[in-house]
Subunit: 244 residues, 2 copies
DNA sequence: ATTTTTTGATAGCATTACTATCATTTTCAC
DNA sequence: GTGAAAATGATAGTAATGCTATCAAAAAAT
């Protein structure tokens, strides 16, 4: 089981000074993940972070303009990591259906089978993404952020999965929407099972692996159920008669 | 076209004093919606709100403990409003498939065909829900909030849709997960089409109604595609061979 | 008409989200 | 190893935020 000590390429607009290149920078990333997991994004701030590292507030501000940029940086890290894992694990697979199933597994399961980046605890980062990831793009200034390319990695991840979907069935109507839905549905159901169980059918028995398996199964059901289905065209017709 | 001047029942744990019962309270709700839409949830605060109403910061604090409670209050309003609209519009429908299609239409389309509550602009509230609704439950203290019943209305909405799904096909494995996915997918794709178009296949030509139609069509495709499909059991088997 | 409730105005306080300055330490070139 | 340059730490300061408290004025209820 190999371990990679890669530097992931993150959009430079997200930082003032590349945190991957210095010891302090890496500590900032490492402990941001731990601290956000512990106290949540709203309670997290640069003062608390610098107390823990330990460093000074001013020093953290030399790396990141503000908490939001740091947070989006972490999400980009996660998205890039997902892309890399999907690439690595589908390299030698030719059957697109198998590829797709592997990709679904990777979305759900962050147990680092063969990628491991020194200073980021990917399991914990994944927890943060599941709990609070949507905040990265659900806000008033999304267009501005988007203009700086803050979501390029998410789009790439989506498009990678969408491309596999299209490989399985090239005439599928909604590859990108299905891809984004699968990612969001995976995260939502992991979260719901733990915190709002009446919003899902999956059950959290406290065992991570069992819940992951349930989510994978359901994602596969949704994804292949839609892709391999030939009988929708008729059900679309009944569209007119309602809401008179 | 009737207009209802109903008071929606909102969980009393969300407020200190019932805002629906006083003039000032209703102004708080009305202008919260407008102001959050305008400046976004993060920039919104009670000072700015009270300057606009106009009233005083202290007075707003007499109705809501803090901004988060007010925000969740608005979401509960939205959820209750959706429940009421679904009930009202499916009352006389017996065919569960038709019911389901009507429900999907209601999730997407907030044009008030026959419900209208005096002081809340539902179109704008819907915009807020689409953009920032997920923040209501994606945070560290979700379990505490859940303990106070802050998400009961969302669960009710989900379960109402899940129940219709089960009516259409009682052996469907994931009615609740499908229901929550449909709701979140509707909102996400409305948002993506506008702000992150590479995450969806729908196109925003600036026309609300055209986009709504596309989303409705896609939701129907996803929903009925899954429910009316009989051929998944075999595709589930191929689960073992990967990730060796 | 007066009591009770609601609201407005003001003040205040601890925390947050930064920015600026300058001294000190570390890194790097030679 | 020495000196210059860069990175960090320490401290201070400011404007905004998220409240709480107090008291007087206005509105509503009896």
């Amino acid at each position: 089981m190999k371990s990679f000590f890669v530097q992931l390429e993150i959009n430079p607009n997200l930082y003032l000074k590349d945190p991957q290149k210095t010891k302090l920078g890496r500590k900032i990333i490492e402990h941001s993940v731990l601290l956000i997991d512990e106290i949540g994004l709203e309670q997290f701030n640069f003062k608390k972070l610098s107390d823990i590292i330990p460093s000074s507030e001013a020093s953290v501000y030399r790396y990141f303009e503000n908490k939001h940029h740091l947070f989006v940086y972490l999400l980009n890290w996660y998205w890039e990591w997902m892309i890399a894992r999907i690439e690595l694990n589908t390299l030698n697979i030719t059957d697109p259906k198998v590829k797709l199933r592997v990709a679904l597994g990777i979305i759900v399961d962050t147990a680092n089978r063969n990628m491991d980046i020194e200073f980021v605890d990917e399991e914990i980062l994944h927890k943060i993404v599941v709990r609070e990831g949507a905040k990265a793009y659900h806000h008033k200034l999304v267009d501005e952020d988007n203009g700086y390319g803050f979501f390029l990695s998410y789009k790439e991840l989506c498009n990678k999965i969408a491309a596999i979907i299209s490989e399985v069935r090239e005439d599928f109507l909604y590859p990108k929407a299905l891809a984004s839905t699968l990612i969001e549905t995976a995260n939502n159901n992991l979260y719901f099972a733990r915190h709002l169980p009446r919003l899902t059918d999956l059950s959290d028995e406290g065992d991570d692996q069992s819940l992951n398996e349930q989510v994978k199964k359901m994602l596969g059901f949704f994804c292949f159920g839609l892709i391999e289905n030939n009988s929708h065209s008729d059900s679309l017709i009944k569209d007119m008669e309602m809401r008179n």
